[in-house]
Symmetry: C2
Subunit: 407 residues, 2 copies
């Protein structure tokens, strides 16, 4: 399996473009387009927030109706959430404009938005942006890189990856780009993510692979506990790799799913590390839990704790906060059986043994935590289930960014 | 109903003292004692965290066994949590020392601790502190004030209140002190709280009144979403007011409960306002919800949102974040029916109408939010249930305090 640094145009037949439409940010690209020359089977997972943005409702209906798609149009700056009927109408107008510009059915256009909630989209600028992007589609690495940059909001780095596998003698590629830095909390996707593949795969199998993969990747990251109104993860398969259809019977599903997970894992970690204001990636591994569900909620509880996040920022091995966060997770366990180990490129130390402070050097622990990637492993000594969650530290800059996001 | 600014010694027969035992903080009081000259019926509510500190287990057993109590011994600086059998033994030694010094049964001693998790108590200093405090008990206002100060950790102000009511011609007083500033999240108490009363009231009725009251007061505040290992709310009734026993039949329960709620409400608000690093109290009122449960989780979801907390710090009326937090609360509602109003001493404005941005002046909204007490009212237009929750803004100082709490 080969992993590349660029994403959505890596699979055969996919093109991308970008433009500065002036939606909200001055002087930067803020729209992107993904286009496939063959119609795609699609799958998607969406926010569980009761308040769903208009594009989420639009895409969800397309996925549920098992429609084919050829294009995704994305804008950054305005979320088109809490925008009522007018917001839904802008989705329709976007699809119409795109259909006209590319000579395709408006019913094959997926849309996505991210940014400030409540504002209405400047639809004329969106239309102009679509026209510009329709004329500049390209399938090279630059096109993918620029599209990944165009969808960023408070992100500091673009996030893309792709992987190539062999399926029955055919080369199949999966590529993806994501954005997300704040309002990030594990509950169905937690960001915008677009995954392309040239695999031949039926829509229901595609959905199965995506849903499974999201559970252990994007749904296990948290920046601030706020589940967005716009979380969207879309996957498009155009079938141009010409492989025998991916299926459970011949084992190709497992290979495909493993490759998909590889891409998603990489991007999930990148998203957590690029959390608003973050100086460090926090990886929490739960081992020896009694079942998968409990392993997941334990991992998410620790990675989501404000006090754990602040202690990582301060490089302070205050292990009581870790046990405290396990304790309020909702999972049942014996506090006096838990071991906690911290590790990073700088070393490793068990800081809690049998639920009590272990004998370790604070100075060494501080050195371990003085890294931009820190792992906290909690062994519950109950069973054999495990889970991993990712987050980031809580910093002055997180507060700064969010105290004044709109201006 | 008369509310006073001092607490635990206001009811008849209660004494308090304090001392600088040198447990962890240098140069300040860090232990307090509450003593009643008549044995008390007791009630308590405790943390729901799976990881419970030794004093929580000790007090919980006393409350469940319906034992009588005469004394509470409290220390700040070390939480006596994650301390194993040794920690339980320190509770026993504390009770023994107290029994000996005051010539009472060790079985009538309640204990409470707050501070760093995982460290063991310096039991010799605790013993010396108990000896000093046993000789300096007093029933005046100063004694109550000093005790409330001695139990503080990151609190910036002491928190006490008392109220006097008439029950069947007799004067009954309820007094209380609390501490709590970080690791505060609504789930059974969320702090240390000690409530004294001279009312004649059976233990089961006392427990009923306390449990009811906690639900709408302490369990509705949040500072950081972290439910502590040490949350304890204890109530002692010594019966010295000589009233006819508080009962449902003669209506005295309702009067007593209302008075208790008044005290607890005042202290809950003080605790939220004194949240670590806070510059403002945030009060979230939910109106028109379909039932009480949903009203509570909606209120708690908004008051606990990092993004809402940061926007209050920045005086930015970013109403989309409020609707977003309602949306991920878990309660079902129609997003397009919700109205949101912000208000403070500086004015009031509806910023969202029918789930969409209302027409208002951003400048005026910023003025409203530039206050140290801000209310956010969300009308769900579903039914007639309501709830109120309290929290505080998320600031640079919260991060600062918690990045380096132990040093």
């Amino acid at each position: 399996m080969e992993i590349k640094d660029y994403g959505i145009t890596a699979p055969k037949g996919f093109f991308a473009s970008h433009t500065a439409a002036g939606i909200k940010y001055p002087d930067r690209d803020d729209m992107a387009m993904i286009y496939s020359e063959a119609p795609c089977n699609i799958a998607g997972t969406f926010t569980s927030n009761k308040v769903k943005a208009a594009p989420v409702l639009w895409d969800k209906a397309m996925v549920e109706q098992r429609r084919k798609a050829s294009v995704v149009v994305v804008n950054a700056g305005i979320a088109n959430a809490c925008t009522g009927e007018e917001g839904m109408d802008y989705c329709r107008q976007t699809a119409d404009a795109c259909g006209k510009a590319l000579n395709i059915e408006p019913e094959s256009v997926l849309v996505a938005s991210t940014g400030v909630i409540g504002m209405q989209l400047p639809i004329d600028r969106i239309r102009n942006g679509i026209e510009a992007m329709s004329g500049s589609l390209a399938s090279d690495q630059d096109a993918a890189n620029s599209a990944a940059r165009a969808i960023m909001t408070t992100d500091t780095v673009p996030k893309e990856a792709s992987v190539t596998i062999e399926l029955g003698g055919k080369t199949v590629t999966i590529g993806a780009m994501t954005k997300g830095s704040g309002m990030i909390h594990p509950n169905m996707c937690t960001m915008l993510c677009f995954i392309t593949t040239d695999a031949v795969i039926a829509a229901d199998i595609l959905q199965e692979a995506l849903s499974e993969s999201v559970k252990d990747t994007y749904n296990m990251i948290s920046v601030d506990g706020d589940t967005s109104t716009n979380d969207t993860c879309l996957m498009l398969a155009n079938g141009m790799a010409d492989n025998a259809p991916v299926s459970h019977e011949d084992g190709s599903f497992d290979i495909f799913e493993e490759a998909l997970k590889e891409v998603n894992l990489k991007l999930a970690r990148m998203m957590a590390k690029d959390g608003e204001g973050a100086t460090a990636l926090i990886e929490v591994s739960i081992e020896g839990a009694d079942n998968d569900h409990n392993a997941r909620i334990l991992a998410r509880s620790v990675v989501g704790s404000s006090l754990v996040k602040a202690m990582i920022f301060g490089h302070d091995a205050n292990s009581g906060r870790i046990l405290c966060a396990l304790g309020y997770s909702g999972a049942d366990f014996d506090p006096e059986a838990v071991d906690v180990t911290i590790s990073s490129a700088n070393g490793s130390a068990m800081i809690m043994k049998d639920g009590r402070y272990a004998d370790y050097s604070e100075e060494y622990a501080t050195k371990i935590l003085s890294s931009d990637e820190v792992n906290i492993t909690c062994n519950m000594h109950q069973g054999s289930a495990s889970a991993v969650a990712w987050g980031c530290d809580l910093t002055y800059d997180y507060v700064k960014i969010n105290a004044d996001y709109r201006s």
